[in-house]
């Protein structure tokens, strides 16, 4: 059977695939590009699969090195005023086996946006605001020094903050969220991933999960607000607070325990449910905890 007949036999989609793109067999290609960039501009990196490693540097350029897989159409590197876009372009009906490994160096104070589907990404030493998202890739960010948002669907998230107070929002569906050394405000949401937060001075913290367990510890500032919620995940919470904290915890069927000797009380004689109220020191920071069936343990640092 001729190639022609075969194409029509396999359908329009496949024929388009065969005809639309240059029919060159490709090996992996190396990447080595540089483009001038503002010291405090914005850099946007998009990749589907493979990896993205971003580092801040003192250069006034964005430098991209790495390699593109055989299935990658091309790498676009475009500057538009203060914005540099680095984008891995795949053919329309890609099989997702097309991956690219990129190492990107950006001016240290850049604002950075990284979007991937399954590529893992890591960001180090970039002090501007970060917007990192992935479907299933892991995201690691170190030295986060500005307000940032990190989102994944199933990839794990790992953040280590710098010492300046920031606002961080880290959300995932099934990925684990790990945050270390952060001061300021933090919001973490997950469905089934775990949350492991080891935090510093907090003015606001909100952590919610459906079934994932959490271990959260931190220092609560005066007048801090903290909210923790889980449907069935267990929560282990440890706080220090110079101006003290007041806890109001509610559970439907999960156990509420603490290391201060305070007993939880039944909400009603006729229905399940427990409530635990306790105050430490001045009771300045307010902590609200809600769970359906997860167990909660509250302690101090």
């Amino acid at each position: 059977m001729s190639m022609q007949l075969m194409r029509s036999a396999l359908g329009v989609a496949l024929a388009a695939l065969l005809l639309a793109t240059p029919a060159m067999a490709r090996d992996d290609r190396t990447v080595d590009e540089r483009i001038a960039a503002d010291a405090d501009g914005e850099v946007v990196v998009s990749n589907v699969s493979g990896s993205v490693r971003v580092e801040g540097w003192a250069g006034k350029e964005v430098e991209i090195t790495g390699s593109l897989g055989a299935g990658v159409e091309r790498l676009d590197v475009v500057r538009d005023g203060k914005r540099v876009v680095v984008k891995v372009v795949l053919p329309r009906t890609s099989s997702h086996r097309s991956s690219a490994d990129l190492r990107v160096r950006v001016p240290v104070a850049s604002r950075l946006e990284v979007t991937t589907v399954s590529a893992d990404s890591s960001v180090r030493g970039v002090t501007g605001a970060l917007r990192l998202s992935s479907v299933s890739g892991e995201i690691e960010a170190r030295g986060v020094a500005s307000d940032s948002e990190i989102k994944t669907v199933s990839g794990d998230i790992r953040v280590t903050a710098a010492s300046t107070p920031i606002k961080l929002r880290a959300t995932s569906v099934s990925g684990t969220i790990v945050v270390d050394d952060l001061s300021g405000e933090v919001e973490t949401l997950t469905v089934s991933g775990e949350m492991l937060l080891d935090l510093d001075a907090l003015t606001n913290v909100r952590a919610r999960s459906t079934s994932g367990d959490s271990r959260i510890s931190g220092q609560l500032a005066r007048d801090a607000r903290a909210e923790f919620e889980s449907v069935s995940g267990d929560m282990s919470l440890k706080f220090g607070a110079a101006a003290g904290f007041a806890v109001d915890a509610e559970s439907f069927s999960g156990e509420l325990s603490n290391c201060f000797g305070v007993k939880a009380e039944a909400v009603s004689k006729y229905a399940p449910g427990e409530r635990l109220s306790l105050t430490r020191g001045e009771g300045s920071a307010q902590v609200r905890i809600k769970t359906m069936s997860g167990s909660v343990r509250i302690c101090d640092r």
Binding site: M1, M3, M6, L10, S192
Partner: protein, 190 residues
């Protein structure tokens, strides 16, 4: 709770969602059925395309398959796999239409046991070339190679779907493999 990523967790998750969709579709919820369509259209169409070789016919057959599936939802056993059930319907549609078009049925001697010869070519070839070789087979051989070779059905399952004896199925498969090998080797598929 389950951390996604294991085949087991996935199978349970998909089964849960699919069972719920089937239940709703049975009660007349067309949107739930549409989700089932979206989920399975690729597999059904893939089968139709290889068996019919014509994209227009393949689309017709795919559409007909889902229409019949909607009408037959009551008879779908929740325990069996929806994709297999849809394939069975698709094969029926294709065979009926073929008979209607009066294609001659091939005669293949009922074979004795064949060795479990394997599918694997000595040298890998481009996907397009293998698809072409399969497409060039006579219908009986092509049907069996598609069901067994591409979609992994057993001789027994494929024979039941095609309405032939299991021995005939084995013979057709053996023949199909030999023909594909020959066509790929000679470059006849190009």
């Amino acid at each position: 709770m389950a951390d996604g990523g294991t085949a087991g967790a996935r199978a349970v998750a998909v089964a849960d969602i699919e069972d719920a969709l089937v239940a709703r579709a049975r009660r007349g919820d067309a949107r739930a059925f549409e989700r089932l369509y979206r989920e399975h259209a690729g597999r059904v169409h893939g089968l139709c395309l290889r068996m019919a070789r014509d994209p227009q016919l393949a689309e017709d057959y795919t559409q007909e398959t889902f229409i019949r599936a909607w009408r037959a939802l009551d008879r779908f056993e929740a325990r069996s796999r929806m994709s297999t059930w849809l394939h069975r319907i698709a094969v029926n549609v294709i065979l009926e239409r073929r008979r209607r078009r009066d294609l001659p049925l091939e005669f293949v001697e009922d074979a004795a046991e064949y060795d479990r010869d394997n599918d694997t070519l000595d040298t890998p070839v481009e996907e397009a070339e293998l698809e072409a070789a399969i497409g060039s087979l006579p219908p009986g051989a092509r049907d069996v190679l598609t069901l067994c070779g591409i979609y992994g059905y057993t001789h027994g399952e494929a024979a039941a779907m095609l309405g032939i004896a299991e021995g005939t199925c084995k013979a057709q498969l053996h023949r199909a493999r030999a023909l594909v090998r020959a066509r790929v080797a000679s470059g006849e598929a190009r």
